[in-house]
Symmetry: C2
Subunit: 104 residues, 2 copies
DNA sequence: CTTTCTAATCAATTAACTTTGATCTGTTTG
DNA sequence: CAAACAGATCAAAGTTAATTGATTAGAAAG
């Protein structure tokens, strides 16, 4: 059982936003501090901070404080579990063997 | 390249709702008509209709009309692609080999 | 052809989420 | 310790999404 529906919902909501997708993709390249993210994505500090909070509360990302900087990184387990949850739904709806239905 | 970020966003938004997750799970068990879904989920007809529309516009589900009934079913390809997109993000963030990173 | 049934749509309300600018806290530097 | 910096937080405003009840359209049955 990969993930409860309630937690899946919170993760999906935390991902279902263009800015937050950009953040996830940026963090896919490795840990970033907030100042790097504001520069890379061209966002106001407080706006980014809001979105980081939503993502952190969903468990999608984690913060690491170092001096006066805060570094964020993806929390890959939950992302993977969400992917598996979706893949298993897709598999229920069609028996395409390439999709690793509910196994592992 | 599993899925564009923009389409992923629309799919995620279409999934990020408790009612719509219930619908997806119900449709995971196979095609259902609207009247069955209203009964199973205990929803007002117009409320369900609204959510079905959101999901259909995202490409998550498809409708099939038959007489005076409309049957809905999952569109497994997009679900699978979304799962793959998430899994590849998870893989970027950690080299857990069990997650089929970007392959196939 | 009128009634009934399924389901979509619409307008109005309500609720949820985002953005913005300001302020506040903690950290480093001079 | 004062100034500068990184970030979080907050309240107000703006925007988007969801709920509700009523209406509408098409299909089947009487």
């Amino acid at each position: 059982m990969p993930l409860a529906a309630g937690q899946a919902r919170q993760l999906l909501k935390a991902l279902a936003d263009p800015i937050r997708i950009q953040v996830v993709e940026a963090l896919g390249g490795g840990e970033r501090c907030v100042c790097e993210l504001t520069a890379e994505l061209g966002l106001a500090q407080s706006k980014l901070s809001f979105h980081l909070k939503v993502m952190k509360e969903a468990g999608l990302i984690e913060a690491r404080e170092e001096g006066r900087w805060t570094y964020y990184h993806l929390q890959p387990e939950l992302l993977g579990q969400l992917g598996a949850w979706l893949a298993s739904l897709a598999c229920q709806a069609s028996r395409i063997p390439a999709l690793t239905c509910g196994s592992s």
